[in-house]
C-alpha cells in the first residue's frame, strides 16, 4: 500500500501512531513492509491456504463474534443435504461436470428454498466484471438478485449445532487448514502465522475492528474471487463488516477504474452492475428482468426493472416506449466470455477487424504481451488515443517482434490512427476513486493542438456515424438513428460534461417534476416516467447540484467528511453500516459507534448516511409475502443480499465453489498439499500454441521452470508506463527494468549484482538488470526451498519513451479466473539464467529449446481435472 498508494497510506501511518498494528503479507519485502510491525513473506499463489488457516483458527478457538455471526450472517442457515464438500470429493464440490468443466450449483443451495438465490440464468449469474469484486460490490452481490428468501422459509439453527448449518460446514471445510498445513503450503512458519491470527482476532470485536487491504495481488489469480471471499469470511466471522475501521478495502490503480466498473466499459455489464442481456435469456425485457427478479424479490435489487427501463430511456429517449419494450432489443446480446483476452484471441483468429484503445497500453500492460502485439497485427484498423506514442501505437514499427522477425513492418496491414488525448486539467468530468467517491475535476485550460477529451472525440464520432447512417432503412441501424445524442456543447464544441452527469443521474420525464433530476434511485420507475444512465449514481446531481464537485474542506467538517465529493450509493461512505449497530440498534461500543437507531426519534441516525431504511425499527419483522425492501427485517443489514445476511457460504452466484478452497496456480513448482485436485477445476484455459503453459506440480518437465515469479508495480511508475516512462522526473527514479532475487538464488544461478539476467517461460524470454536483495527470502514449502523472483512490469520495448526495457508481462500466459475472467499474473513459474537474452531468431530458439526440454504441448497444465491417484 505504501508502494502503490503512498498518500492513502498516510492513514495507516496515522493509525500506527495511535497504536494500530500493521501486518504485511507479501512475497516481497516492500516499502509497506519497511514500516509494518510484521512482514510475512508468503509463497505467491497460496493465500487461500493462509486465509483458510485464519478461518480455522477463529472457529477452533471460538474467537468469532457470536452475536454478529448469528444475526448478520448466514451461519445459521441450513444447506441442502445434497451438498458435498471438497473433503468428500478430493478437492471438488458437488455438482462438477467433468465434460463441461463447470459446476451445477444446485446442491449448494439453502434447504427449503426451491430455486436458491438462483441469480438469473445460471450461466449468466456470475459474469461479474473483474474488479467489481474489488469494489466490494462483488460477484456475490450483483448476482444477489436471487429469489426472495424469507426467514420463515429458511431453515435456520441459531445454536449453530446442526451439521448442515453453514457454520458447521465451514468448520469442517477449514478443519484441514491447520497451522502445519499453512506452513507446508505457504512457507510461513507456524509461529509467525499464529502471531497474525492472534493479532487479527484480538483486534476484532465490539471495541475494535480490523481492516484488510488488498490489490491485484489478490485478483490476479485463477482463483482470484475466492481470495477476496476468504477475507470476507474472516471479516464476517469477526464482525468487521459495515463498521468503521473494518471492511475489505480494494486499492485500485487507476484514477477512475472504479467508475469504469460502475459505468462500465466492460462486456458483461451495463451501468450500475445490471447484467448485459444474454442470448440465452427468455425473450425481451420481461425475460431479462424475470431471469433476475422474482415477483417477491427481497432487497433493493427488486426494482431492477426501474433501473433498467430508466437506462433504456436515457439511451433511446422518447423512442423507448413500453410498446417497444423500451428498445430493449436494441441492446446487443452476449453469448459467453467476450472479455479482453478472449477478444485478443479472436483477433489472432481474424474475427475482429477494429480495435479502439483509450488510455491503455496492452502491448505492455496486458498478459502475454507477444500475443497482444501479434493480435494487433491481424487487425484491419486500430485507434490509439493517448498522451504519448505508447508501445501499443508503435508495435508495427519498433515492437519486439520486429526484432525477432516474427513481424515485418511492411507486411503488417493494420491501419493505425493515433489521436492525442486531453488530460484531466483540460476537461471537466468526474473520477470515481477507490472508495466509490465521485470527485469532479474542473477544466483549467484548453487542450493543445489536436488533443481532445474522449467526451469530445466520441461525441463527434457518434455524430459522424449517425450522419453516415441517417438515411439507412436497415433495422440494425435504428439503434444508432434513435440514440439520444444531443448534448449541449461548450464553445470548443465538446459536450458539456455536467449535462452528461445529469443524464447519468437521471431525470423525471413526466409529471410536475419533469426535467428535474432524480434525488434517489428509489425514484426510478419501470413505466418509463424516469430516465437515468446509472442507477447507483442517482443523487449525484440531485437538486440540480453537481455533488461530485462538493469541496468543503476536510478540516471544516466531521471525520466522515460527507461534504467532500459524493459517494455512491446515496453519499454513503460505509456500505452495510447497519451492521455497525447491534441487533437492537445500539452501537456495539461507544468507541465504534457509527450508525444507530434513535429510539426517541424512531429513526436511524449517526455519522454517515444509514444504509438502511431510515424508519425501519430494529425489531421489524418482514411480513409473509412482502417483497423488495419491505421484505428486509430490522436486523438484515446486508440489504442487497436476497436474505439480508452476510454470506459466509455462497449458495449461488459463484462458478468455482461456495467456499474458498486452496488450489495451486496454473503453473506451480509444487503439488497441492491440501487436495488431490491441483488447480481450480473451473479455471479458464486456452489450449493454443500461442499461449503455452509450463508444466506444473510434479508433472514431468516442471523442474525446467523451478522458480516462482510475481509481477508488481513500483511507486515511481504507473502501470504500463504511458504516464510515467515519458516523464523525466519519474523515469530518472526507476530508469531500468530489473528483477529482484535473493542472495541465495543469485548464488544458485550465478547471478551477479547489477548484472543482467534472462528469465524464461514457455511464452518467451526477457532480460532484466539484477537486484540482489535480502528483501526476497527463499521459503521452505513442504520441505522444498522455493525461490521467488520479483518483476516490476512498467517497461516496454519501443522507441518513444524516455526509458524502455523488456516487459515482464510478456512472460505471462493466459489462464483466467472463471468468475471474472481475470488473468493469473501474480504467480507463475520460470527459469532464470545469468546474462542478457539472445536477440533476433536466437531468442525464439532459446524459448523453443526450453519448450522441448520441458516437453510442452498445448495440453500441458491444461487438464482441468487432476487425474485421480493411481490413474495419472
Amino acid at each position: 500500500m505504501a508502494e502503490c498508494h503512498p498518500v492513502g497510506f498516510q492513514w495507516v501511518m496515522e493509525a500506527k501512531k495511535r497504536g494500530a498494528k500493521i501486518i504485511h503479507i507479501d512475497p516481497r519485502f516492500t516499502r509497506t513492509s519497511a514500516v509494518a510491525d510484521q512482514h510475512v513473506p508468503i509463497r505467491a499463489g497460496s493465500d487461500i491456504a493462509f486465509l483458510g488457516g485464519i478461518i480455522n483458527y477463529i472457529l477452533e478457538s471460538e474467537k468469532y463474534f457470536k452475536e454478529y455471526v448469528v444475526n448478520y450472517t448466514n451461519a445459521a442457515t441450513i444447506i441442502r443435504n445434497e451438498f458435498k464438500d471438497t473433503d468428500d470429493l478430493d478437492g471438488l464440490f458437488s455438482g462438477y461436470d467433468p465434460v463441461t468443466s463447470q459446476y451445477d450449483t444446485e446442491s449448494w443451495g439453502y434447504r427449503g428454498i426451491t430455486e436458491v438465490a438462483a441469480a438469473g440464468p445460471k450461466n449468466q449469474g456470475t459474469k461479474v466484471s473483474a474488479e467489481s469484486a474489488q469494489a466490494g460490490q462483488g460477484a456475490a452481490q450483483r448476482s444477489r438478485q436471487g429469489s426472495a428468501i424469507h426467514e420463515h422459509e429458511l431453515h435456520r439453527d441459531e445454536t449453530l449445532k446442526d451439521p448442515n448449518t453453514v457454520f458447521q460446514i465451514l468448520k469442517r471445510h477449514y478443519a484441514r487448514y491447520t497451522p502445519e498445513m499453512v506452513e507446508r503450503v505457504c512457507g510461513v512458519p507456524q509461529k509467525e502465522f499464529l502471531e497474525v491470527c492472534r493479532a487479527v482476532t484480538e483486534n476484532s470485536g465490539r471495541d475494535k475492528t480490523t481492516a484488510w487491504v488488498y490489490s491485484v495481488g489478490w485478483t490476479h489469480h485463477s482463483v482470484g474471487v475466492q481470495y477476496i471471499r476468504g477475507a470476507a469470511i474472516i471479516q464476517l466471522l469477526l464482525g468487521n463488516m459495515g463498521r468503521p475501521g473494518g471492511g475489505i478495502l480494494a486499492l485500485r490503480g487507476h484514477a477512475s477504474i472504479q467508475g469504469s466498473t460502475d459505468i462500465p466499459t466492460l462486456f458483461d455489464i451495463l451501468p450500475g452492475y445490471l447484467p448485459m442481456p444474454s442470448v440465452d435469456l427468455p425473450k425481451g425485457l420481461r425475460g431479462y428482468i424475470d431471469s433476475m427478479v422474482t415477483t417477491e424479490q427481497k432487497g433493493f435489487w427488486s426494482n431492477t426493472e426501474g433501473y433498467m427501463v430508466s437506462l433504456l430511456k436515457a439511451y433511446w429517449g422518447e423512442k423507448a416506449t413500453s410498446e417497444n419494450d423500451f428498445c430493449f432489443d436494441y441492446l446487443p446480446k452476449i453469448s459467453g466470455d467476450h472479455g479482453t483476452y478472449q477478444t485478443v484471441l479472436d483477433m489472432m483468429d481474424d474475427k475482429v477487424e477494429g480495435y479502439m484503445i483509450m488510455g491503455e497500453n496492452p502491448a505492455v500492460g496486458s498478459s502475454n504481451g507477444k500475443l497482444q502485439r501479434m493480435a494487433m497485427a491481424h487487425l484491419k484498423w486500430l485507434v490509439v488515443r493517448d498522451f504519448q506514442l505508447i508501445e501499443s501505437a508503435t508495435f508495427w514499427k519498433d515492437g519486439p517482434e520486429i526484432a525477432t522477425g516474427e513481424l515485418k513492418t511492411d507486411e503488417i496491414g493494420t491501419e493505425v490512427f493515433f489521436f492525442p488525448a486531453a488530460n484531466h486539467v483540460e476537461k471537466d468530468g468526474s473520477f470515481t476513486q477507490t472508495q466509490r467517491m465521485l470527485q469532479w475535476h474542473h477544466k483549467a485550460i484548453d487542450p493543445p493542438g489536436d488533443c481532445q477529451s474522449e467526451l469530445h472525440f466520441f461525441f463527434n464520432l457518434g455524430k459522424k456515424i449517425k450522419s453516415i447512417l441517417a438515411d439507412s432503412t436497415l433495422e440494425r441501424d435504428k439503434p444508432i438513428q434513435d440514440l439520444t445524442w444531443d448534448y449541449p456543447t461548450l464553445d470548443s464544441g465538446e459536450p458539456d460534461a455536467e449535462a452528461v452527469l445529469k443524464e447519468i443521474n437521471g431525470t423525471y420525464l413526466t409529471g410536475e417534476k419533469a426535467g428535474q433530476p432524480l434525488d434517489s434511485y428509489t425514484d426510478m420507475k419501470p413505466n418509463g416516467s424516469t430516465s437515468g444512465g446509472c442507477w447507483i449514481y442517482t443523487g449525484v446531481y440531485a437538486d440540480n447540484i453537481n455533488h461530485a464537485a462538493k469541496r468543503k474542506s476536510g478540516s471544516d467538517q466531521s471525520w466522515v467528511a460527507p461534504d467532500w465529493g459524493w459517494v455512491w450509493p446515496a453519499n454513503r461512505r460505509i456500505l452495510y453500516n447497519r451492521a455497525s449497530a447491534d441487533p437492537q440498534g445500539k452501537p456495539w461500543s461507544e468507541k465504534k459507534a457509527y450508525v444507530w437507531w434513535d429510539s426517541k426519534a424512531k429513526k436511524w441516525t449517526g455519522h454517515d448516511v444509514p444504509d438502511f431504511e431510515l424508519t425501519k425499527a430494529p425489531t421489524y419483522k418482514a411480513p409473509k409475502g412482502s417483497r423488495g425492501p419491505e421484505a428486509l427485517s430490522g436486523n438484515d443489514p446486508f440489504i442487497m443480499q436476497s436474505d439480508g445476511k452476510g454470506w459466509l457460504f455462497v449458495p449461488a452466484g459463484l462458478k468455482d465453489g461456495p467456499l474458498p478452497a486452496h488450489y495451486e496456480p496454473q503453473e506451480s513448482p509444487v503439488s497441492n498439499a491440501v487436495y488431490p485436485q491441483q488447480a481450480n477445476p473451473t479455471r479458464q484455459v486456452y489450449k493454443r500454441d500461442d499461449n503455452l503453459s509450463n508444466p506444473s506440480g510434479h508433472d514431468k518437465g516442471s523442474e525446467v521452470f523451478p522458480y516462482v515469479f510475481t509481477t508488481y508495480r513500483l511507486t515511481e511508475h504507473h502501470t504500463a508506463g504511458g504516464m510515467s516512462r515519458f516523464l523525466p522526473y519519474l523515469s530518472e527514479l526507476q530508469p531500468e527494468f530489473f528483477c529482484e532475487v535473493s542472495p541465495e538464488l543469485a548464488e544458485e544461478r550465478g547471478l551477479r549484482p547489477n548484472g543482467w539476467a534472462t528469465i524464461i517461460t514457455a511464452r518467451t524470454a526477457i532480460e532484466a538488470r539484477v537486484l540482489i536483495t535480502e528483501r526476497i527470502k527463499p521459503l521452505k514449502v513442504g520441505g522444498k526451498v522455493i525461490h521467488q523472483i520479483g518483476l516490476p512490469y512498467h517497461w516496454g520495448v519501443g522507441g518513444e519513451a524516455l526509458v524502455s526495457g523488456d516487459s515482464a508481462n510478456d512472460l505471462l500466459g493466459l489462464t483466467l479466473d472463471p468468475n471474472v475472467h481475470i488473468q493469473e499474473a501474480k504467480a507463475s513459474s520460470c527459469d532464470i539464467q545469468p546474462g542478457r537474452r539472445p536477440v533476433g531468431t536466437a531468442l525464439l530458439k532459446l524459448v523453443e529449446q526450453y519448450r522441448q526440454r520441458a516437453g510442452i504441448t498445448v495440453n500441458t497444465s491444461n487438464q482441468l481435472l487432476s487425474p485421480k491417484k493411481g490413474e495419472s
Binding site: 498508494h5 487507476h254 448485459m276 442470448v279 479472436d346 498522451f387 490512427f417 466520441f458 515519458f726 519519474l730
Partner: protein, 189 residues
C-alpha cells in the same frame, strides 16, 4: 542619481553601513530575491482537480497563468489526501506540460513504414467510416438457433479506467447502439 543609488545599493556599502558586517545576510540579498514571490501568487486562475494516476483520488490544485498550467500541487482541503501527493501526483505538471507530448493526430497506412500527419476531422471521419463498414461486414442479427444477437463481433475497445465517468458513459452508450459488445478496460486486467 542613478549612479549614487547603485553605489548605495552596492552590497559592500550596505555591508559597511549595516549590522551585517560580514555580508552574510541582508546586505547580500539581491533585488530579485527581495521581491521574490511564488508563481502560485500570480496565477490568473486556480482550479480544483483530482490526481489522474491511481484511485486514491488525491485532491489537486491547478494554477493557471496565461492559459498555461504553471503549477499543480496537493489540495490541502481534501479529506482524502490533505494536500499530499506521491511522486506520480507530484509529476502531474510535467504530464500536462510535457514537451514530448504528442499533440498531433498521426496516421499509419496499411503496410506503411512511417507515421503520416493527418487532419483531425478527416481522421475522425475515417474512423467513423471504418466502424460503419466493419459493422456492416460483421453484423450478427441472430444466432444459429434464431435467437436475437443484434451485434458486431468485429469491433473491440479497451480503455476507461483512466477516463471520466461521463466519457465512459458516452463510450458505452455509443458502442451499445452500434452493437459492439467487446468493450473492456483495465478493470479486467
Amino acid at each position: 542619481m542613478e549612479l549614487q543609488k547603485t553605489f548605495i545599493s552596492w552590497p559592500v556599502i550596505k555591508q559597511l553601513t549595516s549590522s551585517d558586517h560580514l555580508a552574510r545576510g541582508r546586505s547580500s540579498q539581491s533585488k530579485r530575491s527581495a521581491t521574490l514571490i511564488p508563481r502560485t501568487n500570480t496565477a490568473d486562475k486556480i482550479v480544483q482537480s483530482v490526481c489522474p494516476y491511481c484511485a486514491v483520488g488525491c485532491g489537486q490544485t491547478v494554477y493557471v497563468k496565461d492559459n498555461k498550467v504553471t503549477q499543480i500541487e496537493g489540495d490541502k482541503n481534501s479529506p482524502i489526501s490533505r494536500g499530499r501527493l506521491c511522486p506520480k501526483g507530484s509529476a502531474t505538471e510535467q504530464l500536462v506540460n510535457s514537451p514530448n507530448r504528442q499533440i498531433k493526430v498521426l496516421y499509419r497506412k496499411p503496410f506503411g513504414t512511417e507515421w503520416e500527419p493527418i487532419d483531425l476531422e478527416q481522421a475522425t471521419e475515417m474512423v467513423a467510416q471504418r466502424i460503419v463498414e466493419t459493422r456492416a461486414r460483421t453484423w450478427q442479427d441472430k444466432d444459429e438457433q434464431g435467437r436475437v444477437l443484434n451485434r458486431t463481433m468485429g469491433i473491440a475497445g479497451l480503455g476507461g479506467a483512466t477516463l471520466d465517468n461521463e466519457e465512459n458513459y458516452l463510450i458505452k452508450k455509443l458502442l451499445m447502439s452500434i452493437g459492439a459488445v467487446q468493450i473492456e478496460n483495465q478493470a479486467r486486467i
